[in-house]
């Protein structure tokens, strides 16, 4: 099986899907000739042309809103938000509109759009090119939310998302684009939304996480294994709907849980997971539910010192695991 970078998986998946189904269009800023500022859409414009790879005006609300309209009229639009930080002007169209189409019309209409957005830090993007806004959307009934750094998972999840009859947000970790390489089958496949995956089995303690933190957790787990701390790493992959079954299963197995995400601590999706665990696995718990998250500051700063201090490293995960394991 060929190994691919996350960014290669993104491009290849869109290319495969678009080649087979001309209802699929791609809309966004600089997605055409330039191939995206991060090159996520490189090659698509050449093969599918102006009509299906659409350089839009610089106005996110209309990009999402027009995608919603296009989905009403027979198309399956994929929207690229250039950086997830710039999704905010489209918040109304996503939250008030896309998310509520099916419900408010009593199942008469639906909104099969996909919104892709590169998220996360580590590329010196400072306050406005490093954010992790996924929790805002995971709070919204009517939306489905994917967040991943895995090339293999992205490929299957993106395909499922495009054919999901409801709006799906896909957050791709931008630092992972050129960092994470995995075996990715050439042929198409689906990975269901709402299914987490155990990326590493263990019985001492569970790390529940997603995105690039999965890989940092795996790195930490390798080191901890040397000291007989066997960490199970659950990669959520989808943040809404949450795979509560998988969450409860791992907690019931290990009795201890560390939740890790890059997004700010307070009000992040980690709180929701901790709450679910505290309510539904109370009697299985052998220790407090601990969160290791991005600090409650607006985002990491430009200077590398800020980035280093903000980001959660394998070492920080390791330290947190040791503390909890010793509880």
């Amino acid at each position: 099986m060929p190994t691919k970078l996350l960014i290669e998986a993104v491009r290849e998946t869109m290319h495969q899907l678009m080649a087979k189904d001309d209802r699929i269009i791609l809309m966004g800023e600089d997605v055409g000739k330039l191939g995206g500022v991060l090159r996520t859409t490189d090659g698509l414009w050449k093969d599918f042309g102006d009509k299906r790879v659409i350089d839009t005006p610089l106005a996110e609300s209309s990009i999402v809103g027009a995608a919603i309209g296009a989905s009403f009229n027979g198309l399956l639009p994929i929207v690229e938000i250039q950086f997830s930080d710039f999704i905010m002007p489209a918040f109304n169209e996503i939250v008030s509109e896309a998310a509520r189409i099916r419900y408010r019309s009593n199942n008469d209409w639906n909104c099969p759009i996909v919104i892709r957005a590169p998220y996360g830090g580590g590329i010196h993007g400072a306050l406005y090119h490093s954010q992790s806004p996924e929790a805002f959307f995971a709070h919204v009934p009517g939306l489905k939310v994917v967040a991943t750094a895995s090339p293999k998972d992205l490929k299957g999840l993106l395909r499922t998302a495009v054919y999901d009859p409801d709006p799906v947000m896909v957050f791709e970790h931008k630092k992972a684009y050129r960092l994470i390489k995995e075996d990715v089958p050439d042929e198409e496949y689906d990975i269901p939304l709402g299914k987490a995956e155990v990326k590493r089995e263990g019985d001492s303690l569970s790390i529940i996480t997603y995105g690039i933190m999965t890989y940092h957790a795996l790195t930490a787990a390798e080191k901890l294994a040397a000291d007989d701390i066997n960490v199970e790493v659950l990669d959520l992959r989808t943040l809404r709907p949450l795979d509560t079954e998988a969450i409860y299963a791992t907690v019931q197995k290990t009795g201890k849980v560390l939740i890790v995400h890059e997004d700010n601590l307070t009000g992040g999706i980690g709180g929701e997971i901790a709450a679910l665990v505290a309510q539904h696995c109370f009697s299985y718990l052998d220790g407090p539910v601990v969160r290791l998250c991005g600090p409650d500051v607006p985002a990491m700063g430009f200077n590398h010192v800020f980035e280093g201090e903000f980001l959660i490293s394998p070492e920080r995960i390791e330290a947190a695991v040791r503390k909890l394991a010793a509880y």
Partner: protein, 399 residues
């Protein structure tokens, strides 16, 4: 730095500066007249003067038959009559909320009548009952919506009245946040273009709504890509309590078309034929791939903003009284047809009787129709896993 020199320099500077005319080049003359005559509050005799200066067009020149005219009249009167019945029901305490089309039916029916149902799309706003009945929403369905009944097609009782949406009529589900539907229309038009179908997406909004960023983005998106969209602004001079002057400095919303490079047309919304004339030209442009058109219909709002509003707080009651007397699109069209010999007293009575029967029937039907069931709260959040939602919610509610 420049502070001391500014004044001296300003004169000479002003000469060379290119300053845009503040007024739409074509509507300019009329606008000047209107500005002179407008009064800050109360009845604004000139609100329609701009549109009225055009030569009247004869219906036969628009390709319309007497039968078309009867239909157009029927749709206007049906919308009006349903609306009046709603107010009655509201005052009787039988329904919670009304938001009205009254005064704007000419604009609504005039535009919708130019469409090809089953092909074209419409993204109306909450006042557009006239558009809805023209496109085919039944009186029963309308009444079911104001009672919030389960059987209503718009939303099955989930949304407030005026939140239209019927898939089989190509009317996407609408919401409350102002101007979002305009952007959807641009996207629908984009899909028409990409799919090679010569369909049209119409959308509408009040003049106040054009202040929203989404309105600008919708116009710019459609104009930049030459999309088959028609944006109708029903300018009734109020956004709830705020007069047009608090929404914009300009008098004619149609002038905004200049910013997008598409035609901006002012029509007399009280004259359904004037609206229709502009609409078929806009439809022709759209189908021919010539891009969007902005149509501003000068209309009146004959009611308070909604049944929750008290317009005496900000509006002279005389204003409405005079507008109803002189500028009622329904009356004006009837009078026109009478004078043209297209409508007789008998024919009119026949239409009125038919509508009364329909409105009565619809009211009766909706009065006793079933409400949604409590468990309907949990359905249709997504296409799948509805079950899961129901169960988990009952659990979370501690039951």
């Amino acid at each position: 730095m420049a502070s001391t020199k500014e004044k001296e320099a300003a004169d000479s500077a002003a000469q060379g500066v290119q300053v845009s005319a503040e007024i739409h080049p074509i509507a300019g003359e009329e606008a000047a007249r209107a500005d002179a005559a407008s009064s800050e509050n109360g009845y604004d005799a000139e609100h329609h003067a701009i549109a009225n200066t055009k030569p009247k067009v004869h219906y036969t020149d628009l390709g319309l038959t007497p039968d078309d005219l009867h239909k157009m009249y029927y749709f206007m009167l049906l919308a009006r009559s349903l609306d009046e019945r709603m107010w009655l029901l509201n005052r009787q305490g039988k329904i919670a909320f009304v938001i009205s089309c009254q005064g704007q039916e000419g604009a609504q029916v005039g535009l919708a009548y130019a469409l090809q149902p089953g092909k074209d799309f419409a993204c109306p706003y909450y006042r557009d009952l006239g558009i809805m009945v023209t496109l085919g929403q039944t009186p029963r369905d309308v009444m079911l919506s104001v009672f919030g009944r389960a059987e209503n097609t718009d939303s099955g009782g989930r949304q407030m009245p005026g939140h239209f949406g019927i898939r089989k009529l190509n009317v996407p589900t609408g919401s409350s946040p102002i101007a979002t539907q305009n952007v959807h229309a641009a996207g629908i038009a984009l899909a028409f273009k990409l799919r090679g179908i010569d369909g049209v997406a119409i959308t509408s909004i009040g003049e106040g709504g054009t202040s929203q960023g989404d309105w600008h983005e919708a116009m710019n998106f459609a104009a930049t890509m030459d999309l088959p969209m028609i944006m109708m602004v029903e300018n009734n001079r109020y956004a709830i309590s705020e007069p047009q002057e608090k929404q914009m400095k300009i008098r004619n919303v149609a002038d905004r078309a200049v910013a997008y490079g598409c035609p901006g047309v002012i029509v007399d919304g009280n004259d359904i034929l004037d609206v229709y004339r502009a609409s078929i030209e806009a439809v022709r442009r759209a189908r021919a791939g010539e891009g969007p058109t902005l149509i501003e219909a000068k209309v009146n709002r004959f009611t308070p903003h909604s049944s929750d509003d008290d317009d005496k707080r900000y509006r002279d009651p005389n204003e409405v009284k005079m507008a109803r007397a002189q500028q009622d699109p329904v009356t004006l069209f009837r009078d026109l047809m009478m004078s043209e010999g297209v409508l007789t007293e008998e024919k009119e009575q026949e239409i009125r009787d038919g509508i009364k029967r329909q409105v009565d029937d619809a009211t009766e039907y909706a009065l006793t129709a079933a409400d949604p069931k409590p468990e309907d709260l949990y359905t249709y959040v997504y296409a799948d896993h509805t079950e899961a939602t129901v169960e988990s919610q009952y659990e979370s509610l501690g039951e």
